[in-house]
């Protein structure tokens, strides 16, 4: 069982590597990532590619909006991580 907290950490690790000049420690989970960090559409594509590369998790294009905030990321990705485990 992968906990929500563990999923959050995995996503945060990816975001920290992409937005490497931003401070990611004070992210508000319910606020859109775009509003808090310097992320554009190319960077969201990178989050998708990193999820695939690091965790073999596929995010189809129609689900990209589910990655908008940390909270929605965890809600959307936790079942995917657990389906693997």
């Amino acid at each position: 069982m992968v906990t929500n907290e563990e999923v959050r950490t995995k996503v945060l690790d990816i975001i920290a590597d992409i937005a490497l000049d931003d401070d990611v420690n004070d992210l508000k989970d319910e606020v859109a990532l775009r509003e808090q960090l310097d992320l554009d559409s190319m960077d969201f594509l990178d989050i998708v590619m990193e999820l695939k590369k690091r965790h073999k998790i596929e995010v189809p294009q129609e689900d990209y909006t589910r990655l908008a905030s940390m909270q929605s990321c965890v809600e959307y990705l936790a079942p995917k991580f657990n389906a693997q485990a």
Binding site: D17, A19, D21, L45, M49, K53, Q61
Partner: protein
Amino acid sequence: MHRLNHSKVDCVIIGAGMSGLAAGIRLSMYDKKVVILEKHSISGGLNSYYSRGKRKFDVGLHALTNTITQDDRGKPFNKLLKQLRIPLGEFKLSPQNYSLIQFPEQTLKFTNQIEVLIEDINRRFPKEIDGFLGLLEYIKKFDEVNLNNETVMAKLVVRNFIKDESLIEMIFCPLLIYGSAWENDMDFSQFVIMFKSIFLEGFSRPEGGVRTIIDLLLKKFSECGGELRFKSEVTRIISDNGKVVGVEINGGEIIECDNILSSMGLPETFGILDQDQKNHPRVGNLSFTESIIITDKKPRDLGIDATIIFYNNRPQYLYQKPQTLFDKESAVVCFPNNFIRDDFDEGIMRVTNIANFDLWNEQLLLSKEGYKDHKDIVYNESLNILKNCGLNSTHEVLFRDIFTPTTIKRYTGHFGGAVYGSIDKSRNGTTKISGLYICGTDQGFLGIVGSMLSGISMANLHILSGSL
């Protein structure tokens, strides 16, 4: 004999310049099998370096444009850093002091803060200040990197805001000579790219110059597991039924691949296609001579603390191929000592003039001696230009080196020594051959930051997004 190499790669990248290396990093980061093939024995392409004795010299790069600070977000340089996963601090950027656009009647000053230029225009062209501010707002809102923008000539657009032709000439001068493949005008999208990168974001110098940038890219590429082969000239692009199947290098070895990203230039790429194509892209007209002068004293001790002077000695600015070997009436003069942090022990000055490739090539074929004599003329004129810029001549010259359009052709492979490539660009990077894409100068994002963003965007758009 043909030595067949059956190891197939996902993508061959032609050229280890800024765009090729940046594309290579993106592709190898996401586990594509990539090989970069570089004709030369060092990387950098149009922005490279060399050594003479203990001295190190940059070629191409006068200054990095698109300068950002730790507080900036969302700018082109920010995008680049995130995509390549390189922190800003690694570049150790030092901003410019200030730069000048020096014309016979007027001089304009600008820094990395646009307010300085606004104030100077207000002082020298008071009737035009509202027009200039209007232009500024229009530029800030314009989406210059939209790949579907139509081609519109920039002077037509700018004349809607500014009436005084001499102010228009002055604004265009730095933007043309730092990136335009077109003579005397440019596409408006490219104008906006250049305007933002030079007037709104500004100049800086990485500690160690162009080497620092190239070394950071090389290190990242190698960490991502990419392969780079020097002295590997692609002599043929092999296609089958309009689809890429591989390349031939050094006239023998064949590497199979699904995709090719070519940064060698559009006419140059067409030149190695195995099937004859109609409508060959045109070879660009703009090439340069440059005098590099090392002195015992530093420019600021000789009366100049400007970082770059865009010098023009005519009422009109002629950004075009001259009918003479080089144009002595206009130049870009760069003083690498004059960034906020001075990295040098000696004085260094670079004087760059627009030049005519065909005439230099003729000279070179005629006689080595004559070619050398003409290089001396370029050097002597550069001393005159420095004097006209206000440099007092109490210094001793310790070393000098002069390069010409033929030097540029020899080291970059660009036809006609065309520094900014062809006037025909492939903005979306596609060609008539499926799997063959263009990045770098002839895709059309300009400057060093532009060329790296070009490699990144073409790799993302055509190769990575297709495999998601």
